[in-house]
Subunit: 153 residues, 5 copies
């Protein structure tokens, strides 16, 4: 049974991990999902590294919602840098699923969160089970949670 | 007896570590608190790493108050990046409790410091003893020291 | 048989990896090309590190197209920082082939992507087989995908 | 005999290391001071790491004066990030004593440099010999080289 | 025979490495110089690390010319961060010799490149053979390639 880690935050304003869990459960069998919740996005890198090294997860998803202030943008950079570093230290993919609070408003923001979480769950499934399906999409301008941009013409 | 490390600075203008210590002592038994004070926030990452590796702390809190200048904002980014790195090197959580000096003024700033320190102490307790309580709060827009933002609707 | 890794993304809006593969196949024999596709550029560092460490690739190319927003520019910095780190951890070159979406428009952007991918494929060939040809070009203002800037006079 | 490392630069426009050495010698016995000078602040991290690992220094001070241009500010960030990393790799404190060239002018800048160097030398002494004196100052708004900001009221 | 590594780029618009090689050969005996050329400055960190670890170089110089766009400035930061990291991983100095394309124009830019390369070659010689000469210059405001700023008065 393959273990997948999901790390999310209490700071975020939408429960993206639950959306992803629903998507994963609806589309796969044989995955064991392990979820952990931390205060903010800067706590996600070590949370994922522990899921990988202490819980034997073979891949992770990290969910977060950076705020709109300049300070929050720096926080997002620090968190992303840490997530990349955690991946390099473990040779394991961690899909970063961040929605910036200023990408949309109200109901539209909630929908964006859900769609991005679900579409990245689909990415995870493809990467784990049919990586050649990822390559079919290479260079096609996929935009998780939004309308795809499509290839340049 | 579980050891918890607390690292803070002489640069900060409020003694957040004492607030957190008070909160931890009022709400737990069986924790041994080890505190160390350094000059500024860039000294916090190694201070925490030493608390973890040389003092066997199982979790840390790092308190700091970045100043208002652009130079100070860069310092905060460097310190946060280091704190994330220290966590990745030790597989141990370090809760960053930073209050930027320009988040509020005077008495309001002091209150913000105290509340953020206490609420992150509560996060630490939840993470150590009842991690499922963290997940209950996932995606609920918690804001330590401020009124919570709540979930998007 | 020497193995070369190619990592690209579904976010990009042009299939640069295919251009590079065509260029490599047209100009070399004895290379085995291994390709993997990930969602976005922040997923490239670990993808390359796995190609190097798990697939024994002796050199990699990482293709990506950062978007035009400030947020995307930060993402590009995080991805590039990770690619440098992956190289340092493996003592292996990874040629970063990024085209920013705002470097050109429409057909011109697609042409830029193709040319940059092909010219970096040529760089890879030179580095692998005739490194002295790289040194002949040292300080000559090469610009992959654009007209060369040439040396200062 | 405890060894202390001091690393400084030829780029700086004031000899802060000599100020610190004077302060350390006037206030301690039993310290062996080892000094090394490098071109600029980006050379300080490895200089300190070598002082720690090759010369067995138990703590270091790193002196530098970033210039006023945007390019210089980035250099300062890179240097600071490296100093934090050097500390994490060695579990050893390196006190960063940087004075930005635009913090003051002429004689006032020289005085700021001297005072900051001396006050950080005092920090080093406290950290080595009486760490509890650091904690007494926690949250009191210390400003090395300037009038202290004091605690928020 | 002591080995010195020199890494430079095809992107730069002046051949600084040749200037440095000329300076080193004119002023030393017993140095073996090993040169490698890569496409751009982000390729320099691993190039230097390989010179150190695979070619046994005891010190390196890394030459590059970041372009004038914001994107290029970020590239410079990524490259510098990587060069610092490469030094920390090897306990070996790598002198970064970067000239930003917008520091000067035309002939003046070429002269700046040559002078900076030669003066850093002199720094390398001092650091290797007479480190006490570096300390004599500490805090004197040296500016490689430009008129020295001198000490603050």
């Amino acid at each position: 049974m393959m273990k997948i880690g999901l790390a999310d935050t209490t700071f975020a304003r939408h429960d993206m991990a639950s959306d992803a869990i629903n998507e994963l459960k609806s589309n796969t069998t044989g995955l064991k999902l392990i979820r952990v919740t931390v205060p903010g996005i800067k706590d996600l890198p070590v949370a994922c590294k522990k899921l990988i090294e202490e819980e034997s997860c073979e891949m992770c998803m990290a969910f977060g919602m950076p705020g709109p202030d300049p300070k929050d943008k720096v926080t997002a950079q620090v968190a992303s840098t840490g997530l990349v570093q955690a991946q390099l230290m473990t040779n394991t993919h961690i899909l970063e699923v961040f929605v910036h609070e200023d990408e949309a408003e109200g109901k539209e923001l909630a929908t964006l969160c859900e769609n991005r979480a679900r579409e990245h769950a689909q990415n995870l499934i493809r990467m784990l089970t049919h990586p050649e399906k990822m390559t079919k999409r290479a260079g096609t301008g996929q935009r998780e949670g939004f309308k795809d941009a499509g290839p340049v013409k």
